[in-house]
């Protein structure tokens, strides 16, 4: 209870405090401190769940179960490391005159607000609040995407706003339909009918026809935020044009949380429908996303855009895995969400430094990072290899499980997946290699990059590839059980 208040209170306070002093010289440190507090609260919460199991709080409006607790911990952790990364990064941006103090204040304040929405979305038991938080996440980040006020960033921000706004509106309609169906079973008190735990308990009595329609709206709505093709169009723009820390959290956290929402819905709908229609939809969206992203990866010139598409690909893969159902695939999907989030944010950190060093996000301009700054170069290289699914990194572990499962369950999808993964590999690796290797005319920059976040993330991903701690594995299993059934 107290831990949860801290978890949500920290970023809320941070947002308020930083909206006053966000332009100060020590603002980045304050930002990091609040994030650290949030992370500490998340740790306490997690350890409580390890000790006591799932928990309902605040008139059942909030809850912690195995599915969301690891996402909470992950979110808080990535929030912390991104805050650490943004410290030197935003200083350099400010020094280059790309952001004014006022905008820096906005940035810091909104950063905390974004964390608040993310954590709220994860911990709330109320499907309506989930929607509110998701919309809040869009609103808090949209101005961050346009932070640089360049024409491109404005365009990206506008698209982000409109597409996600419209998308999320569909999700609201889906939520309404869900409520409509639940009301029949749970009574019209309006208190419990949107609480996920209650819905889950009665999901087999919910009206299938309504839930099927609701799922379509919810899937299109939250799927827009996940970046599932063909709803993904906002994603690369928003990732590429915003400040890098925001790209990192968008990719690493927002997509995860949106997928989390989709999966919560899928559990209810599948319980009601007794058919595999939702799963098949997820499989279709997942595959399409993987293919579209892989093909578009081929044409990228901007480093952040490249990895934004890679995020679409990996979200597609995770969605596909959720669609495969079954404990193994679900386990794999959860693992994939975790490792993708860690790896991708690490890549964005490294890419941010790389772009800063080269003075451009265009990959043709970034050359010979190994010479310019070996640590950034290795960070980017290892991160890219990790995201491409090479062991011993954790992404490989999840892809291993996903592919082997797919081979047995949906063999027809294998040629598509295989081709897409190969194309994605060629596209990303073909771009990363000349950036990291090769000659360069650039000079080493004076400021030190923030490497702790990059390598901390990669170390964890490496660890997850070789050894998943038992309690984490138990969470995953319990969550997989929750989602995918026994």
């Amino acid at each position: 209870m107290i831990a949860l208040s801290f978890l949500l209170g920290m970023p809320a306070m941070g947002a308020i405090v930083l909206s006053y002093c966000g332009a100060r010289r020590e603002a980045p440190e304050i930002n990091a401190a609040f994030s650290l507090g949030t992370f500490a609260a998340a740790c306490v919460l997690a350890s409580r769940v390890v000790g006591h199991g799932a928990d309902l709080l605040w008139r059942e409006e909030f809850f912690i179960d195995p599915f969301n607790v690891f996402l909470v911990a992950l979110t808080a952790f990535v929030g912390l490391t991104t805050a650490l990364f943004s410290r030197p990064y935003m200083r350099v941006e400010a020094a280059h005159g790309k952001v004014s103090p006022g905008r820096l204040r906005l940035y810091h304040s909104m950063y905390q607000l974004f964390m608040l929405t993310m954590l709220t979305a994860l911990t709330t038991n109320n499907m309506g609040l989930l929607w509110v938080a998701m919309e809040g996440a869009t609103l808090s980040t949209v101005l961050l995407v346009t932070l640089y006020r360049t024409p491109q960033s404005l365009e990206a921000g506008w698209k982000y706003f409109i597409l996600c706004g419209v998308g999320i509106a569909q999700a609201l309609f889906g939520t309404i339909l869900l409520y409509f169906a639940a009301e029949k079973v749970l009574g019209a008190q309006g208190v419990t009918a949107l609480l996920w735990t209650h819905l889950d308990a009665v999901k087999s009595q919910l009206e299938p026809a309504v839930l099927a329609l609701a799922f379509v709206f919810l899937l299109v709505g939250y799927g827009t935020k996940v970046g599932l093709a063909p709803l993904h169009s906002w994603l690369p723009d928003a990732h590429a044009e915003g400040p890098t820390p925001i790209s990192a959290v968008l990719s690493g956290l927002l997509l995860n949380v949106a997928l989390y929402a989709v999966v919560r819905c899928k559990v209810l709908v599948e319980g009601s429908l007794h058919s595999t229609l939702p799963s098949r939809m997820l499989i279709g969206f997942g595959l399409l996303s993987v293919v579209v992203a892989a093909l578009l990866l081929m044409r990228q010139r901007d480093i952040k855009r490249l990895f934004a598409y890679s995020s679409i690909e990996h979200m597609g893969l995770a969605t596909f895995a959720f669609g495969l159902s079954g404990p193994v695939a679900t386990f794999a999907a959860l693992l994939h969400m975790t490792v993708h989030s860690l790896t991708k944010s690490a890549i964005f950190f490294a890419a941010g430094h790389a772009a800063q060093k080269a003075g451009s996000q265009l990959m043709d301009r970034i050359r010979g990072l190994l010479t310019l700054s070996p640590t950034v170069g290795w960070g980017l290289m290892l991160g890219a290899l990790a995201i491409l699914g090479l062991p011993p990194f954790g992404v490989f572990a999840s892809e291993f499980l996903i592919l082997t499962t797919a081979m047995r369950e949906q063999p027809w999808s294998i040629p598509i997946l295989l081709a897409a993964l190969a194309v994605a590999f060629a596209a990303i690796f073909g771009r990363v290699q000349p950036m990291v290797f090769g000659e360069t005319e650039g000079r080493r920059l004076p400021h030190a990059p923030a490497l702790l976040p990059v390598f901390a993330h990669l170390a964890i991903v490496l660890l997850l590839g070789l050894y998943i701690p038992p309690y984490l594995a138990d969470w995953y299993r319990a969550a997989a059980h929750l989602i995918g059934g026994p």
Binding site: M281, R299, P392, F400, T404, P434
Partner: protein, 670 residues
């Protein structure tokens, strides 16, 4: 029985871990050549020797051991197993790595592009990952080792990453490796057979329907074939092997390609259990094609390392030929013959590891001494580099398949097993397979051609560049490394009976049968019914006796006077190095005869050119005909998809709208 013995599996694991430790130790002083290069590599070589010894010991023991490590996935910790098959390949790894490591200790300099410490790390991770691949007893550990192997070797290949071609080579290498690995992974996905246990033990127990089993086999063949360089998946190999530093090329060619053979054997005979006979036709045909393709391309190369790389493709082809033959025999209930073909494959793996490593290391020394890879700028190095020339000659003759060296033994075994192909009780196949023997014979003869070209152009004749006069022989450590591998070639060539009996547990494990071995320790007679035998030692002794006697008699009855004079050359006056055959010239007959294999691009001078220039470039038809079109299709498809992402928000909204409506319609319809 094994429990009472102290156990080789933990020893192997410890040695593999020691490699990892050595690699990490390299990071302690990454810039020091003396520490990371000279010292750690020697330690690594000692570990390799110990590994080889342990493997021999385990092979002789012939038993199987397994263990589980506490790392890996939650439900799938790393399972390890040491059985005769893995022991045989560990022996290969240890024996070859020992020589290569010793050589590397003397080879790597400061100027090689990457810090010695990093090289040391990647090199030893590479070795350790190959060890893990061989020891793994579950799909996850196997794949981790497999991909780690690709990854670490990729970094080694791109050591000199400032050169664009080397980066391109590394790229295509890792891409093919990754795609191949995915295929293998999918094969494992089938093999687990719905048990969701990814241990090899579960796969052995799983029962697959024939279609699934065939699918698994073919996927595995594609995956392992991509790693081994089976045509048409070979395109990365002639790019990556020359790009790598020579010791790495040696490991890639000598050892890593064999892990693919290991994997294929593991899947076909061990995990699938009962291969169907017609499966074998696929690797057989692909192997024969690969062998011919590789050797023909090798003959027309002008880069010495590319030449060796193509020769590796040829040898891989022979390995898969033997493997396919073994499956055909096994599937038609002729286990003894399957054992014979398998023996040829295993033996050739060992042989190729020793001789190809030796040759690649030799080219490394030449490269260091002259800075040249192009055959057109070498020549006459036997005078300046007698050690390298002498030791490389052993490898050259071995690779040419000449008795009494090792290359011949495995070729002999392979041909012997082909001699039984007419007994296969399947109509038409019994007719086709013997034709394979003709291809094998042709390849073997062409290999001789290639090797004469290789050795003759580099080491013999007159130096084609004046700078070659400053070439120096290799250092002591390099000599030791080369010498070790040359000694291996000799040993494998002269003691076939011992090698065969050491490999017998493997064939027994995989086919349940073994080739008979005569009582004589000096005689290789695997098929007693046919009274065929091969005794290289006797052979060598007789030859040596004749030579010695001749020398003696000539000296006794005549004289040993020698005068030195300018070369005669039919009385032609001035003999210049430019009058020798170039590498292109030496390849000319092959170019003509096998014209249809190549896409040749010629640039011929006209008679009136003031500065005539003759240039010829040979391209791979498979690259032009398969890979480039595929890349083109993908690009065009990407263009189409990119056209949809056109920047207009209305279009994006329309996509959302259409998706929504479509899904709603689907829901309404169901």
């Amino acid at each position: 029985m094994i429990a009472s013995l102290s156990s080789p599996l933990p020893d192997c694991l410890a040695l593999v871990t020691a490699w990892l430790a050595i690699g990490i130790a390299g990071l302690a002083r990454p810039r020091s050549v003396r520490y990371a290069g000279r010292t750690l590599f020697v330690v690594g070589a000692l570990v390799a020797l110990a590994l080889a010894a342990t493997a021999v010991w385990s092979l002789i023991g012939g038993a199987t051991q397994s263990m589980v490590l506490p790392i890996g996935l939650p439900d799938l910790p790393f399972h390890l197993r040491l059985d005769p098959l893995s022991s045989a390949f560990l022996l290969l790894l240890g024996a070859a790595a020992a020589g290569v490591s010793l050589f590397s200790a003397g080879y790597f300099r400061d100027s090689d592009g990457m810090a010695p410490g990093l090289l040391c790390l990647q090199y030893h991770v590479f070795l350790a990952s190959m060890g893990l691949v061989l020891l793994a007893n579950d799909a996850y550990a196997y794949m981790v080792g497999w991909e780690l192997m690709a990854l670490s070797s990729y970094f080694l290949v791109t050591t000199q990453h400032r050169i664009a071609e080397i980066r391109a080579a590394g790229f295509i290498y890792l891409l093919m490796a990754h795609v191949g690995a995915l295929a293998i992974l999918l094969a494992f996905g089938i093999l687990q057979g719905g048990s969701w246990q990814f241990t090899f033990d579960a796969m052995r127990a799983a029962h697959l329907s024939p279609a699934w089993a065939a699918g698994a086999f073919l996927l595995a063949l594609a995956g392992f074939g991509a790693k081994a360089g089976l045509v048409p998946l070979h395109v990365w190999l002639p790019e990556a092997h020359p790009a790598a530093p020579s010791p790495v090329s040696a490991l890639l060619s000598g050892v890593m390609l064999k892990t693919a053979v290991y994997g294929m054997l593991r899947v076909a005979f061990d995990l699938l259990g009962h291969p169907v006979w017609w499966w074998g036709l696929v690797p057989l045909a692909a192997g024969l094609l690969t062998a011919l393709y590789g050797v023909v391309f090798a003959a027309v190369q002008t880069d010495m390392k590319r030449l060796l790389a193509y020769s590796s493709i040829e040898n891989v082809g022979l390995l898969f030929t033997g493997l396919g033959l073994a499956i055909v025999f096994y599937g038609t209930s002729m286990p003894a013959l399957a054992a014979l073909a398998l023996l040829a494959t295993l033996y050739h793996s060992l042989n190729h590891a020793a001789m190809k490593s030796l040759l690649f290391l030799g080219t490394g020394s030449v490269l260091h001494a002259t800075g040249q890879r192009n055959l057109g700028r070498l020549g006459g190095l036997i005078h300046r580099m007698p050690w390298v020339a002498g030791l490389t000659l052993v490898g050259t003759l071995a690779l040419a398949g000449l008795p009494p060296l090792n290359g011949f033994v495995s070729e002999w075994l392979l041909l012997q097993s082909f001699l039984f192909a007419d007994q296969i009780p399947r109509a038409f196949v019994d007719l086709l397979i013997p034709l394979g023997a003709a291809v094998v014979a042709l390849c073997a003869a062409l290999a001789g051609y290639v090797m004469v070209k290789f050795y003759g152009v580099i080491f013999l004749g007159q130096p084609r560049e004046s700078s070659l006069a400053h070439a120096h022989d290799c250092s002591l450590l390099e000599r030791v490394g080369l010498g070790w591998l040359a000694a291996l070639c000799l040993a494998l060539g002269l003691a076939p009976a011992q090698v065969v009996s050491a490999l017998t547990p493997v064939t027994r494990q995989l086919t349940g049968s073994a080739t008979a071995q005569g009582a004589s320790w000096w005689l290789l007679a695997p098929v007693p019914a046919r009274a065929v035998s091969y005794a290289p030692l006797l052979f060598l002794l007789a030859g040596a006796a004749v030579v010695a006697l001749t020398v003696l008699l000539v000296r006794l009855f005549y004289h040993r006077r020698v005068r030195h004079a300018r070369p005669w050359d039919c009385g032609f006056g001035e003999v210049s190095p430019r009058m020798q055959d170039t590498a292109e010239g030496f390849g000319q007959p092959i170019r003509n005869i096998f014209q249809s294999f190549f896409a040749i691009e010629r640039e011929l001078p006209t008679p009136f050119d003031a500065a005539p220039r003759y240039r010829i470039a040979i391209h791979d038809r498979i690259w032009l005909g398969i890979y480039q079109p595929i890349a083109g299709w993908v690009r065009r498809l990407a263009d189409v998809v990119a056209g949809l992402q056109q920047g207009r928000i209305a279009a994006y909204l329309l996509y959302s709208f259409a998706t929504l409506v479509l899904l709603l319609a689907v829901v309404l319809a169901t």
